[in-house]
Amino acid sequence: MSELLELATRVIEQANGKEGIEAYVARGTDTELRIYDGAIESLSTATSAGIGVRVLIEGNEGAQVGFAWSGSLDHEAVDRALREARENAHFASPDPYVALAQLDGVAPSDLALTSATFDELTLDDKIAMTTELEAMTRGGDPRIRQVDSADFGDGIVESAIASTTGIRVSSQRSNAFLSVSALAGDGDETQTGSGFSVGRSAGELDLREASSQAIERSVRMLGAAKVPSMKTTVVFDPRVTSTILSVLGGALSGEAVVKGRSFFEGRLGERVANQDVNLVDDPTNPLAYGAAIFDGEGLACRRNVLINQGILEAFVYDTVAARRAGTSSTGSATRGGYGGTPGAGCRAIVLSPGEQGAAEILSGIERGLYVQSITGVHSGVSPVSGDFSVGAEGLMIRNGAFAEPVREVTVASTMQAMLLNLTAIGNDLTWLPGAACGQTLAIADFQLSGS
């Protein structure tokens, strides 16, 4: 048994007769490095750890739940978390749907989420790699005038969950990233572009890829201007698609649906998308950044088909939302570290690839806007109403090819309409950080707002 699981188990063993207890324990070690102008701007190393405890008190009208967390694993802190969770439970309303996860017989996948070569590169290697990334980006094109940050980070996180309902799981994962942000232009104009590479160890990272993305994305925006407002087809870059699918995932959370906070409520079994749309959440895919063996309550993560040939088939659930909705958990509890309680959410959304690559999709579009980045997602996209309005920058598409760069415009539609108006789904699946895979998407009938 891992040390963390032992600790979690010791906590739940203190349950008295009417109590249910769940303990989530996590510990992480991180290195973060920023290079600027050929030298180390900052270097940080640290270990952090904490525990989150849920206590349920069973009663005739249902269970009351309380939660407490602590950013330390010393005895005093752990005891305090258990004591406060107990106190907090007494104030919650009894709720017949509140329960801890029950083992459901689904076998965990055998994903290897920690790189065997995580320790292969030394700190000096990582410093050299990030310094090279910065230099390569600065020197990669005469139009790059500044690289305001070149970052490297890696870390290992272990976690364990134990509960009085028999959950005993632990897992470990490693991750590593490189990112760089470039400024192109002369004194009168600046355009920005970023590039990154992610993996499970420093050795897997591709600095050329990160650097060339940042250069290409900033340089091709030089000369960008607003265009007149128009109705148009929009083609989303894989990064943007990943962001949009993550928000869509919020509307597919069974918790949002059962509490009346999703535009998908009441639409199960109905056509919600173009028939080419097959959407799954599959954390068992080892390529996914959000891949996981266990969910936030310790159940095995599994593949869930959410939209099948355009028909809404299912939502993702944690235990409580599933009981509220009269179904069972889909192994989709997520939690924001030891300080958060479980909720239902997606980890690894994938839209099944179509036939065409990005170039083919572009070549079929007479006029449209290629969007390479969006802003204002949290203020302009609602998984409740489905309203969608974001700031966009990218390139006009004219006669199947990239034309002039565009900035300071918005594109707007609704998520409901976007799913029905999908005209092309790229085969260029791109695994990116976050809860969704990216690919090139073409969607008709956006309102572009400009001059």
Partner: protein, 477 residues
């Protein structure tokens, strides 16, 4: 020294996070191998939240975190390590880890004797621990009932209460030795309304650097009704316009406009890297002459207020733009050192696990002369924004967005039909020049500002004002 939000008590806050002699030894260790400056930042944070959702008290949560972040500076390089272990051994280990970047050696730096500790106490009147939990939960139920009473179309209500207390201690080899005790309280209501047109949401919140006495002046019933009414009105809303329109922003509708349009671009970390559109503009006209913009950490009780920043520097009031002319940027210790000037009290960090950087506090536009109603009456056609959501900016280009959560059409000088939510997009320097009317009303709004992965509480404020043209990102062609 200005005393912002607490009282200078001159003695250490209790309980002492770390003993003074331990701090001395940790600082000495941190610079033993050649660092030029070292800093110990200790923090003890407690929080409690209560959530009322779907008609019941869903959950109470509480948490505690304490630890220290240690920073060692050598030339342009910062070494940083943090630990949850506040024992001398834990702190010394973190000090050595932070000092690893200074391994090229030097003679070692002398530690300047620490100043007498400047210890600030909170000015909270009712500390959260002195208030019964039942009293906190009653507020949630009241807000829920008030929101649901607004109409049958209100299909869901979530009310949440959050309290937090953050005790910090900062000591550096340059003699800084200060502590603060920051108490904050927040209350939010989010409603969903259901109608033939689908679902719409309405949000209202209040958040202040105060204790439970916040609710002596804030009526939570009113917050519930406002959030519910906001959701309801949008059920009948028509799609927002698309394209450039005149916009009147209501006083206190968010102030996020200035936070995004120029606030971030005036942060010195962007300036020293020449990655802000406001670089090299000092002394120049960067906004309409009507605009005077201030960042002020000393405004008692506001969400972004404190007595000392997270580098131990007392909060201060900084005029950034005066009558349209750029007068200063915002500075933390590191960037100010580079320019040979003092910090402006804008060095902040989310927790002890983060490095400080330049952040805003309470950023606001000073009131003007005009009557807010007159500004609307003199706008033949446009959009009236009653409440803004969040925003985002690219500091290098100046392009920014900000979202509406309550907006109306203005037709013939009158506020008419409600509009669905949308983002607006503009370019900071351009939009600031297009402000042609500023009213004599003023109010502040709380917000959470995210930068480089760190979130900190900030205040934003503004009077009613008009922008002659900004691009509205709706779907109505």
């Amino acid at each position: 020294m200005p005393v912002a939000n607490g009282t200078l008590v001159g003695v250490s806050i209790a309980p002492e996070l770390v003993a003074p002699d331990v701090i001395d030894r940790v600082l000495a260790e941190a610079v033993a191998r050649g660092g030029e400056m070292a800093e110990v930042f200790c923090e003890d944070r407690t929080s409690r939240t209560a959530m009322f959702d779907d008609g019941r008290v869903e959950e109470l949560a509480s948490g505690q975190e304490r630890g220290a972040g240690i920073r060692v500076i050598l030339g342009e390089t910062t070494g940083f390590a943090h630990t949850a272990d506040l024992s001398e051994a834990g702190l010394l280990e973190a000090a050595r880890a932070a000092a690893a970047v200074a391994k090229q050696g030097g003679g070692g730096t002398n530690v300047v004797g620490l100043e007498k500790r400047r210890a600030y106490s909170t000015n909270a009147v009712r500390l959260h621990d002195d208030v019964a939990t039942s009293e906190k939960l009653e507020l949630l139920a009241k807000a829920n009932d008030a929101a649901r009473s607004v109409g049958g179309s209100i299909s869901q209500v979530q009310a949440s209460y959050a309290e937090g207390r953050r005790r910090i201690l900062v000591a550096t080899t340059e003699g800084v030795n200060a502590s603060d005790d920051q108490v904050r309280t927040r209350f939010n209501v989010i409603c969903v309304a259901t109608g033939d047109s689908g679902l719409q949401t309405g949000f209202e919140s209040v958040a202040r650097t105060e204790g439970f006495e916040l609710f002596d002046t804030v009526n939570v019933d009113e917050l519930g009704r406002i959030a519910a009414t906001r959701a309801l009105s949008k059920l009948q809303a028509r799609p927002a316009p698309s394209g450039e329109v005149p916009v009147v922003l209501a006083g206190g509708s968010g102030g996020v406009l200035f936070h995004e349009a120029c606030g971030h671009g005036l942060e010195a970390d962007h300036i020293v890297k020449d990655s802000s559109v406001y670089c090299g503009q000092m002394g120049e006209l960067v906004a309409s002459p009507l605009v005077t913009l201030v960042d002020d950490g000393t405004v008692t009780g506001e969400w972004g207020a404190f007595s000392i920043d997270d580098e131990g520097r007392p909060a201060q009031r900084n005029v950034l733009i005066e009558n349209g002319v750029l007068t200063d940027y915002m500075w933390d210790w590191l960037r100010a050192r580079k320019e040979g000037r003092p910090s402006s009290g804008n060095g902040r960090r989310e927790t002890y696990q983060h490095l400080p950087m330049v952040r805003m506090t309470n950023t606001f536009l000073l009131a003007g002369q005009e009557d807010p109603e007159e500004i609307v009456a003199q706008t033949p056609h446009g959009v009236y924004v009653a409440k803004l959501g969040g925003g985002q900016v690219n500091t290098a280009t100046g392009d920014f967005v900000f979202g509406t959560t309550e907006a109306y059409l203005i037709e013939d000088g009158k506020i008419t039909e409600p509009l669905r939510d949308a983002n607006l997009i503009g370019n900071g320097p351009e939009v600031l020049r297009r402000i042609d009317a500023i009213a004599d009303d003023f109010s502040m709004m709380p917000g959470t500002c995210g930068k480089d992965g760190q979130s900190v509480p900030v205040g934003c404020g503004q009077p009613t004002l008009r922008i002659t043209g900004v691009t509205f990102g709706g779907t109505a062609a």
